[in-house]
Amino acid sequence: MSHVTIQRRSRRRELRRAAPFVLPFLLLFVVVYLVPTGYSVVESFFSLKRSGLGLGGAETVFAGFGNYVRVFQDGDFIASLGRVTFIGVIQVPVMLGIALILALLIDSSVSTGRKFFRVAYFVPYGLPGVIAALVWSFLYAPTLSPITGFFASIGIDVSFVTDGALPFSIANILTWAWTGYNTILIFAALQAIPEETMEAAALDGCSGWKAALLIKVPLIRPALLLTLVFSIIGTFQLYNEPVTMKSVAPNLPSTYTPIMAALRSLTANDFNYAAAQSVVLGALICVLSVFVFRASARRVD
């Protein structure tokens, strides 16, 4: 009996000790994360109804799943999801493939000057995403680009901003900006493989590329998986690059990506619908990350 009270008293004492440390962060966390999430979910179930001729003001009415039905019937929003999926399906494997190869090359003792390459590959990460997009917008600009200028001088017409080229141009900015970052992450994982493992493999006659593919790659699965999940999430929240590209590609629709679509609803004062779009996007990203983790966890077994 007394043991329980002592325990209870000590728990209360720990709580009193922890409170001044935890509460400032927790309070702000609630304000910045939980309240907006909850508020958006609530708002997404309402809609603004203009009465009469729109003169009598508007009132907010409960809309049930009305906004969600609208999201899934919204051609622009569905198209934006299609675009980021398309870009992701092309860009993520290419980027991670390059990152894996570069990391393996830096890791192998074949390479000389590995420190230089590590820094060189990491440089784009130092540029803020939107500044990188700004630089590329100049490199893509139809009349100003030094790249199109070079191709024109040898008689080839290239454009980076036609409707067909845009997804690839955007994918290139993403690849440029994030490959180095992923290379470093994968490289760090490779460095952790014990030397003895590779020596044992070599004694068994497994070395070079065979060793890299059969032994190193399986050993760094967790790191690869993490880069995969974060790259997929990154593609679904695409915003900076297409927005900056708009200055050289006026044909780029203002609902090009899901986030851009939600922001357009905001500027149209359609707050409830913007909330529903954000909730759908957030839920989609969560489901996708869980799915990727699950799928690859199963393959391990």
Binding site: F29, S111, F117, V123, G208, F230, Y239, T244
Partner: protein, 306 residues
């Protein structure tokens, strides 16, 4: 994005320890020169791909307005106009650029310091005080690490516009001072680097909990530098949230301001000025990374290993 740094970092210290190598047993020492050259060629090719746009930015910032899009885009022009360009940059539109830089610095340094402090206090308490509800708090914060910031931007806008604080300093600053990743990192770091004996000794000496924490902070310094650095970069590079919240150009950070200038398509703000502005805005991030590099790489490595 930040959470991605955890897993590989766990492994870095292992790599740091030099291992004795048995000669000849290493599988890759017996590679023929041809394939060595092939590997080097691939690596150089990619280095060029990654460095060329940055090189273009540096070169273009030194060119005069007339030259920027004529001649070789990847080499210096006739005149070296970097100083003039920077002068023009800081005089454009009544010197708004320095205002943007100052705003970015204020958001990034202020937000970085406050978020680091709040996160390390919370992480320390989660590591050292076994209070009821501790795991529930940690679990909730951890889930937030995975929630992408851009998806949260619209909900944040809805709440701030409901309270009428859109287009104020606070609309960008308050979201910047909450770092769930920081809590995660400092909990792990505090658990391993601050001995329980320190707390007990402090209590025996009659020191208050805050005073004991102040002593522990010294042991947590590498983790705190890491949190500060990543939060600094995250705030400095943030575009969506400030562009959504701030219509008033005098409140905007440099990223939002520059994209606004880019959209003017060269007039009245020339492309040279935009390019020079982009170049100047990158310098603080690079400086921050270089000056704190030894600190934060060590912090990440040791922080996550335990």
């Amino acid at each position: 994005m930040t959470a991605a740094l955890q897993s590989p970092a766990q492994t870095a210290p292992v790599a740091a320890a030099p291992r004795p190598r048995r000669p000849k047993a290493h599988p890759l020492t017996t590679v023929n020169p041809a394939s060595r050259l092939f590997v080097l060629a691939i690596m150089i090719l990619f280095a060029i791909y990654f460095l060329l746009p940055v090189w273009w930015l540096v070169v273009s910032a030194t060119k005069s307005s007339g030259e920027i899009f004529s001649g070789n885009g990847f080499w210096f022009g006739e005149s070296f106009a970097l100083v003039e360009n920077i002068q023009t940059l800081f005089q454009a539109q009544g010197g708004i650029y320095s205002r943007w830089l100052l705003n970015s610095l204020l958001y990034a340094v202020g937000g970085g310091i406050v978020s680091t402090l709040l996160a390390s206090m919370c992480g320390y308490a989660l590591a050292k005080f076994p209070f009821p509800g501790r795991e529930a708090v940690f679990g909730t914060v951890l889930a937030a690490v995975l929630l992408p910031a851009p998806v949260l931007a619209v909900p944040l806008y809805l709440v701030f516009s409901f309270t009428g604080t859109v287009n104020t300093f606070w609309a960008v600053f308050i979201p910047s001072i909450v770092s769930p990743f920081g809590v995660y990192l400092s909990r792990i770091y505090a658990a391993s680097s601050i001995p329980d004996a320190l707390l007990e000794a402090g209590r025996l000496d009659g020191a208050g909990e805050m005073r004991i924490f102040a002593m522990g902070v010294r042991l947590m310094a590498p983790a705190m530098v890491t949190i500060f650095l990543f939060q600094f970069v995250a705030i400095w590079t943030n575009f969506l949230l400030p562009s959504l919240m701030l219509a008033d150009t005098s409140l905007q950070p440099v990223t939002v301001g520059l994209v606004g200038w880019r959209e003017l398509q060269g007039y009245p703000i020339s492309y040279t000025t935009v390019v020079t502005g982009a170049f100047v805005s990158v310098v603080p991030v690079v400086a921050m990374f270089l000056s704190l590099q030894s600190f934060w790489s060590k912090g990440l490595a040791t922080g996550a290993v335990k």
